[in-house]
C-alpha cells in the first residue's frame, strides 16, 4: 500500500464518521471568525435555537470593515453606516457567546490570517476553517485549512464539524535556489501563471521542494495564501524545524507540559516518500523572475522584464476573448513593456503580504528615497497591531513616512475596499494583495499584483521597475 500524503494524514486524523459514498464528517479544531461572513450564521443559530458546540475553538476579530485611520471612536466611531453595523454586530455576538475576541481597539486586532498564526492559534496538524477563502494561508503550518461559506460557518458553530468530500492530492515542487529579490509572492504568481486559476480545482496542493523549504514561515504563508488563486481551497507545506521554531512560545501554543509530545506529533506531518499524488507540477526556482500581473485574473502575470501579451496570438478563443476584455478593462495595449506602466497608487498590505518580513522588505527599498511625484497615494497597512508595533520598534514607520508613504492602522483595507480605502474609477495600483479582479479594489480600479519589494520600488519610480536592480 502506498504511503500517505500530508493531506491524507491531516484528513484521516479528523474523520468523525464516513458515509457510504466516502463523504466524511470532519472535525474542526480552530474556527476563525470575522464580521463579514458571520452575522447570518449567528442569526441562523439563534433562529434554530442552537448553541455553539465548542466556543473555545473560536477566535474572532474584526478586519474587513475597520478604518485604517483614526480609531479613537472605537466601533461606534466608524463613519460608514453599514460597516459600523457589521462591526458592532460582531461585538455583540462575541459578547453574547463569550468568545475570545480582538475588537477594533485591541492591540492584537488585525487581519484574521495574520493574527491566527501570530497568536499560535494556528498549529501544525490542526483543521482550520474561516468564512474567508484565504484561510488556505494557515496550511503553511502543516495544517488542513480552507475557506467556507456562511452556511458552513453556522454548521461548524453548531457541530464543530464539516461535511466534506475528500479532495485530490496535488504536489507543486519548486526546486533550486530562487535569485535574490525573488520572493514567495513571485513564486506564488509564477505558479498560478503556470497552472492557471483553475489548475488546482478539486485539489489540496502541497508545496514542496528545496526552494519552498528555504522559505521563512512568512513566505510560506504568502504562498499558501494564494493557493486559492490557483483554484485549490487548501495549500500546505510540510512541518520542519522552521515551523516548530515559529509556533512555540505564542499565547495559544501548547504549554510546557504538552510540548514534547506535540513536537513529536508535528514531526510526522509530511508526505511519506512513497505517497501517491494525483497531479504533480515541477518548477525550477531559477526560472522565476519578479512578477507583475497585467490582467484581471491572477493567472494573467508576466515577468517584470517582459511585455503585456497579445490576445491575437492566443490559440484558445475563450481565453483570447478573456484577454481582450482584461486589456480593455486595464486600459493596456499588447506589447507595452511592463516597466512602462505608470501608477496612481501603491498599496502594501493584505493577508498575503502584511507581515513583518514583508514590511522590512519594502522598507529596505524605500529607505532614504521619496515616493514619485505622479503617485496620488502610497500606503502601508500592517497586518496586525502587533506587526505595526514591532515595525515601529524597528523604526520602519519613520522610513515610510519620510519617503512619503502613509502608515496606517491594521486591517484588510484596500485589498478589497470594504472600508474607506479604495481606488477611484480608472486609477491604477501596484498592490501586494491577492486578487486583480475587476473592481476588487474599488469600482473601475485597476490592480497589478506584485511583491512588497516590487510595490515599494514602483512607488519610488512611479512605474514598475525590477526591484532586484533598484
Amino acid at each position: 500500500m502506498a504511503g500517505k500524503t500530508l493531506y491524507d494524514k491531516l484528513f484521516d486524523a479528523h474523520v468523525v464518521r464516513t458515509e457510504e459514498d466516502g463523504t466524511a464528517l470532519l472535525y474542526i479544531d480552530r474556527h476563525l471568525v470575522h464580521e463579514v461572513t458571520s452575522p447570518q450564521a449567528f442569526e441562523g443559530l439563534k433562529l434554530a435555537n442552537r448553541e455553539l458546540w465548542r466556543k473555545e475553538a473560536i477566535l474572532a476579530v474584526v478586519d474587513h470593515n475597520v478604518p485604517t485611520t483614526d480609531r479613537s471612536g472605537g466601533s461606534a466611531g466608524i463613519v460608514d453606516n453599514t460597516s459600523r453595523l457589521q462591526v458592532t454586530t460582531l461585538d455583540a455576538n462575541a459578547a453574547d457567546h463569550g468568545l475570545t475576541y480582538f475588537d477594533i481597539n485591541d492591540v492584537r486586532q488585525g487581519i484574521v490570517h495574520v493574527i491566527g498564526p501570530e497568536q499560535g492559534a494556528t498549529l501544525p496538524g490542526m483543521t482550520v476553517v474561516c468564512g474567508d477563502s484565504h484561510t488556505s494561508t494557515h496550511g503553511a503550518f502543516g495544517a488542513l485549512a480552507h475557506g467556507i461559506g456562511t452556511s458552513e460557518v453556522e454548521h461548524v458553530m453548531a457541530t464543530q464539524c464539516l461535511v466534506q468530500q475528500k479532495m485530490l492530492n496535488m504536489l507543486v515542487e519548486v526546486d533550486g535556489v530562487a535569485a535574490d529579490g525573488v520572493t514567495a509572492k513571485d513564486i506564488a504568481l509564477h505558479i498560478i501563471g503556470e497552472i492557471g486559476t483553475a489548475g488546482g480545482n478539486g485539489c489540496a496542493i502541497e508545496f514542496g521542494g528545496s526552494a519552498i523549504r528555504a522559505l521563512s514561515m512568512e513566505g510560506r504563508m504568502t504562498l499558501c495564501n494564494m493557493a486559492i488563486e490557483g483554484g485549490a481551497r487548501a495549500g500546505m507545506v510540510a512541518v520542519d524545524q522552521t515551523t516548530i521554531d515559529y509556533v512555540l512560545d505564542r499565547p495559544f501554543s501548547p504549554g510546557p507540559e504538552h510540548r514534547e509530545v506535540a513536537i513529536a506529533a508535528w514531526n510526522e506531518l509530511h508526505s511519506d516518500e512513497d505517497a501517491h499524488f494525483d497531479r504533480r507540477v515541477s518548477i525550477a526556482a531559477e526560472d522565476i523572475k519578479p512578477q507583475v500581473s497585467w490582467g484581471t485574473s491572477p493567472e494573467m502575470v508576466a515577468p517584470v522584464d517582459d511585455q503585456v501579451p497579445n490576445p491575437e496570438t492566443e490559440q484558445d478563443p475563450v481565453k483570447a476573448d478573456g484577454m481582450r476584455k482584461a486589456l480593455a478593462y486595464m486600459n493596456l495595449k499588447a506589447g507595452t513593456p511592463i516597466t512602462e506602466i505608470p501608477l496612481d497608487k501603491v498599496f502594501i498590505g493584505s493577508c498575503t503580504n502584511s507581515r513583518i518580513e514583508d514590511i522590512r522588505a519594502a522598507a529596505a527599498v524605500i529607505k532614504g528615497r521619496k515616493v514619485a511625484a505622479n503617485l496620488k497615494l502610497a500606503m502601508v497597512v500592517p497586518g496586525s497591531g502587533l506587526v505595526k508595533k514591532q515595525a515601529e520598534e524597528e523604526g520602519l514607520d519613520k522610513l515610510f513616512t519620510d519617503a512619503g508613504f502613509e502608515w496606517r492602522e491594521p486591517g484588510c483595507s484596500m485589498c478589497l475596499a470594504m472600508n474607506a480605502d479604495r481606488l477611484e474609477p480608472g486609477e491604477r495600483c501596484a498592490s501586494t494583495s491577492n486578487r486583480n479582479f475587476e473592481g476588487r479594489q474599488g469600482a473601475g480600479g485597476r490592480t497589478h499584483l506584485v511583491s512588497p519589494a516590487m510595490a515599494a520600488a514602483a512607488a519610488i519610480a512611479g512605474h514598475f521597475v525590477d526591484a532586484r536592480h533598484y
Binding site: 463523504t23 498549529l123 458552513e152 453556522e154 461535511v163 478573456g322
Partner: protein
Amino acid sequence: MRAFTTLKALVAPLDQSNVDTDAIIPKQYLKSIQRSGFGPNLFDNWRYLDEGGPEIDNSKRRLNPDFVLNKNRYGGAEILLARENFGCGSSREHAVWALDQQGFRCVVATSFADIFYNNSFKSGFLPVQLNEEQMDVLFRECEETGGYELTVDLESQSVTTPSGQSFAFEIDAFRKNNLLRGLDDIGLTLEHADQIRDYEKRRAVETPWLFSE
C-alpha cells in the same frame, strides 16, 4: 433547505470563464447582516452603468444594455450557462444568495471553483458540470433559439435540450440525496452528536494540547 428535483426553465448564457464571486456580488453589498436582498445587485458592475451601493435605490439606476442578462429574451431565466472555473475567488456565499434571489436555480458550466460549488447546495441551488463540447452545444443552441429551455433532472442526473439530446452529469450520492429531499445539514450532523463527542474524547488523549482550554 429547499429541495431540488427537476427544473424545466429558460436559459441565459454568460459566455465567460473565471467569473469570480466579486463580479457576481461586489463587496459593498457584503456589508449586509441579512441573508436576503442581494438579487438586484447580482453582477452589479456589469449590469448597471452607474455606481451602486448598499443604500442606493437600484430601480433608479441605468441598466447596461450590452450586458447579456439585461436582454429581454433572457428575462426570467432560471438556468445560467457559464464556462470554466465559475465562482472563483472569495468564499462569499452571498454569491449563491444573489443568484438564487435573482431567480436562478441552477448554473451549468464547464467547471466550478470548489468553495462556490460547496456553497451552492446550502441554498438548494444546483451546480451542474458538463464538458467543453457539451457546453459548446448549449451555448450555440441558446444563442440561436428564442425562448431556449433546458430540463435539468437531479434524480436521473441529466440535462436535456429541447431537441431531446441528453447529457449526463456527476454528483456525490450523499449530496444528491440531501438536495432531493431538501434536508437540513446541521440537523443531519447533530444526529451523530455522540460520535462527535467520542471523537473529542479520543483526541483529547492523543492531542491534549488541542483541548487544554
